[in-house]
Symmetry: C2
Subunit: 300 residues, 2 copies
């Protein structure tokens, strides 16, 4: 089954990529360098998990209409900008990501800052295009915009990123509470946004949106803990990157506090709970169920 | 008259500041550092021209309602984020702005990047609050959001910033066309957004919004050329900063191409044209007229 899910995810990711590409600005004008840098950053690859999760949740609730594509592109632009800024010399100072030179490595540091800014701004420009879609539900789009903005900001992804940056400088001050906060916000928030926006645009009601937020929160947490586990026990060939980086960087992770056995149990508990909630909903999307399991039990 | 306008601008700016402060996030939670850095950046001062221009254009068209305050706060957050990122070591590497330590000088470079990101993101969160205002016109707010996003992005402010950054590295490649492009986008776009959003939220029609965009474009250009002139002929005591910085940095400006006499004529021509268009509108806001003159003939 795992291979089936992986293959299907690949197909869905390609479809999402096609849609995202359509919303990327075309290189032209005097500001062509920044557009090139934006396109390079987004097209450098990735699993496209967030747009796929969004579309699958949209389809779970029987969503129809093209406005979802604007938000699929927007969430991937926001995810990408966060990586571009994360890789900057002032932050993680990474010259490679997924085997390719990072944006600032190719275009210089100033353009790295600006390409990130441009992607974040363009994400909102793109999401606003949902209003142009014929017969789109403006109320739902407004709600989706609010979720997008909140989950990407200081009470979402950026909030987690800030505490992560501060913790890296003061490894002694790190607590289990801080690790949970970082995982919930830095990783969890955009996964919550993805699934919630899918539900909102498909017309889910508030109690359903709330359940989806809970599912996404658990999956986001399990996803991140699995990342820590793979950094210890993963197969470098399958992962495509060296393991043991957290230990080398003396980075405290969830596993540091809980130990590897308890961490594995936690991944299982969170995933089972998430899928349990999903199954209680009066709708079905078998691929989404399989995807949630695959995401957290993945080997890369 | 000039002193009257300056005094009145001071009062209007204080009023705008009060409104903006209400929309700043309160320092709390584990991510308190970033909120502190955001508040520090916005509260470090400035003339608050953009929110004042927005409110005065709103009032020109007889605008009523509180949704304007969300956008006044949003435009100032966007202006502030652009300064925070501009001051970064990778960009202009400035440690002081208006006599105060810049955001990255106080909070470190990583937090400087994140505070800028957070302000841009929070600007959209804040503008979206306009939908909460009772009896607000959702169609106008959607239009205003689009203008805000476009004028702040690659076809607006960021676009100008990119060409400016590239030009600084290659002073030999600079052309008059590029200077115009940079001034129109880097400075002009947010002034256009400010005045257009004021008009849109007040219910102005498309032809009126178009005239306001023309006025703002001319004022933005004149404002920036006056900046160049002041850097050559200004009084350091009144300006509050040393003159001659463009020459020391070998920075090509509008004056480099046109010469100081032609530049002064151009400031006058652009301002006269802008005020001419404003006077043709069937509405009146004497302070706005005076403000436009003052802005471009200012001595600091």
């Amino acid at each position: 089954m795992e291979n089936d899910v992986k293959a299907l995810l690949g197909i869905k990711a390609s479809f999402a990529e096609e849609k995202i590409n359509k919303y990327l600005p075309l290189t032209s004008g005097m500001q062509n360098t920044i557009i090139e840098a934006m396109r390079y950053s987004v097209q450098a690859g990735g699993k496209r998990l967030r747009p796929v999760l969004m579309e699958e949740t949209f389809s779970l609730f029987g969503g129809k209409g093209d406005e979802i594509y604007c938000f699929m592109a927007a969430i991937e632009m926001i995810h990408t900008y966060s990586l571009v800024h994360d890789d900057l010399p002032a932050m993680d100072n990474d010259m490679l990501r997924r085997g390719k030179p990072t944006t600032h490595a190719v275009y210089g540091e100033a353009m790295g800052v600006l390409a990130g800014d441009a992607l974040l701004n363009y994400a909102f420009e793109t999401a606003l295009k949902a209003f142009d879609v014929e017969a789109s539900n403006h109320k739902a789009i407004i709600k989706a915009l609010r979720v997008l903005a909140k989950k990407a900001g200081i009470y979402g992804m950026i909030g987690g990123q800030v505490v992560d940056v501060e913790s890296e400088k003061n490894q002694l001050d790190i607590t289990e509470e801080k690790i949970n906060f970082i995982y919930e916000l830095k990783t969890g928030a955009l996964i919550e946004a993805s699934m919630m926006i899918g539900a909102i645009l498909a017309g889910a009601d508030d109690s359903e949106i709330n359940l989806i937020e809970q599912i996404a929160s658990k999956i986001g947490m399990a996803f991140q803990i699995q990342d820590d586990i793979l950094d210890i026990e993963g197969d470098e060939k399958v992962l495509g990157k060296p393991i043991g980086s957290d230990e080398r960087n003396e980075k405290a992770t969830y596993v540091t506090f809980a130990g590897i056995e308890k961490s594995k149990k936690e991944v299982k508990r969170l995933t089972d709970e998430a899928i349990g909630i999903l199954k209680e909903l009066p709708y079905e999307n078998k691929f989404l169920e399989d995807l949630l399991s695959y995401l957290v039990y993945r080997d890369n």
